[in-house]
Symmetry: C2
Subunit: 217 residues, 2 copies
DNA sequence: GCTATCGGATAGTTACACTATCCACATGAA
DNA sequence: TTCATGTGGATAGTGTAACTATCCGATAGC
């Protein structure tokens, strides 16, 4: 297929596809003449993956590039995990994170097999530090319950990866799960917040959501 | 205190503070003369909150403005919850979300008291749609386990809010918890992923993390 | 032959979050 | 009392990121 078709089938503007080619997010098509190229179904798939990483996962083009490079390489799964994690985490200067916040994270994840420079550990500590600065660091087990839920999610993620037979599928699941999993959980969390909040503050409400019926707010 | 002191004590540049004043994120100081003003400890607190929302929570200035406006108003808690949720969710055109993805979200959250236009519901459906397009939508209960964990987190969030006595404190907890909670969970999730992954693929590893000891990667 | 489309290169646009400069006036130590 | 330093407010400039538009000479297919 030529670029015009790739553009219509993927709903991405031609100029944008050219931009992705330039940035090496999308591999070049097979040249059929000095100024013609042929694109395949693989390009359509890759384009969808790119849009997922950028639009839904919120990655920058540079981060998506790193993640896709790892995916294309023959690296072991653990390495790909690391790259995907680094991509979704902003780079935090370890020196900028107060030791007290790191200590809090470490106490909450006591017994976990985690290297000290895990990007999530630093990110969590930065949040703790910010909560502390604003005076909203809970002493009632809020953070501990977050850690317990994070453990459940990590088990689900690893089970999902284990269930995939081929290495390439595993690798893509690692990337997609890591990047889009955050967004999925955030959405479900907000949904659950409304539910729990309705249960507690409007008990006995008949506002049950029935998706099969047309409703208005 | 004057602006120079506000700047040093909060580690925010004077020009940036002026920018926040201009954008009405930070209330003006009390004028003591035509071109002098006095700032208080409240301004320091607010500045820390702003930096938390922008840097750690990843809000834009416009979103932070909306959230802070809600916080300053006398709105009921439920409304503030809604504003905070809308701020962390990108605005999704409901028409752009495939019905099949929405149906999947609704089936996973079956029995939950949620209005159809909950921003989290749309956001979750968008992720599902993206997973579907890439061909990575799990049929093995991955999404269901995310929903179960989200419910646990929502319970923790509401317990936390319930534990705060005053209305103003509750409101700030709602905002801070909603915005920074996502970031905290993401960080802990990545930490848990490394832990579970190490448990499964390097069983018996002696690489236990002991935060009290100096370690190198 | 002729016109639409192609790839590739280059330059322009938009949005955002600051950041810098100017100005007339105020403050406070020398 | 002087005067360097600091002030609020207005305005304009900067840097980055992600596109988007235009131009070009070269096919493609009728």
């Amino acid at each position: 297929m030529k670029m015009a078709e790739l553009s219509t089938v993927s709903a991405v503007a031609v100029a944008t596809i050219k931009f992705y080619l330039r940035e090496r997010l999308l591999p070049a098509g097979e040249r059929t003449s000095p100024n013609q190229a042929d694109y395949t179904e693989q390009h359509v798939r890759r384009l969808r993956l790119i849009r997922g990483l950028l639009d839904v996962g919120g990655l920058s083009v540079a981060e998506a590039h790193r993640v896709l490079d790892a995916l294309d390489s023959e690296q072991p799964l653990q390495q790909i995990f690391g790259v995907a994690q680094a991509a979704v985490s902003e780079h935090i200067d370890p020196a900028s994170v107060p030791a007290s916040a790191l200590a809090r994270v470490d106490s909450v994840t006591d017994g976990w097999l985690v290297s000290p420079d895990n990007p999530g550990r630093l990110a969590a500590a930065q949040v703790i530090a910010s909560l502390e600065a604003i005076g909203h660091l809970s002493a009632r087990g809020w953070v501990e319950r977050y850690a317990a839920a994070a453990l459940l999610i990590a088990e689900a993620d690893l089970d999902e990866i284990d269930a995939i037979p081929d290495r390439e599928g595993k690798a893509e699941t690692v990337v997609v799960g890591t990047v889009l999993g955050d967004a999925l959980f955030s959405g479900l969390r907000r949904t659950a917040q409304e539910h729990v909040s309705a249960l507690r503050y409007q008990p006995g409400s008949a506002a049950h959501h029935h998706p099969s019926l047309a409703e208005s707010p």
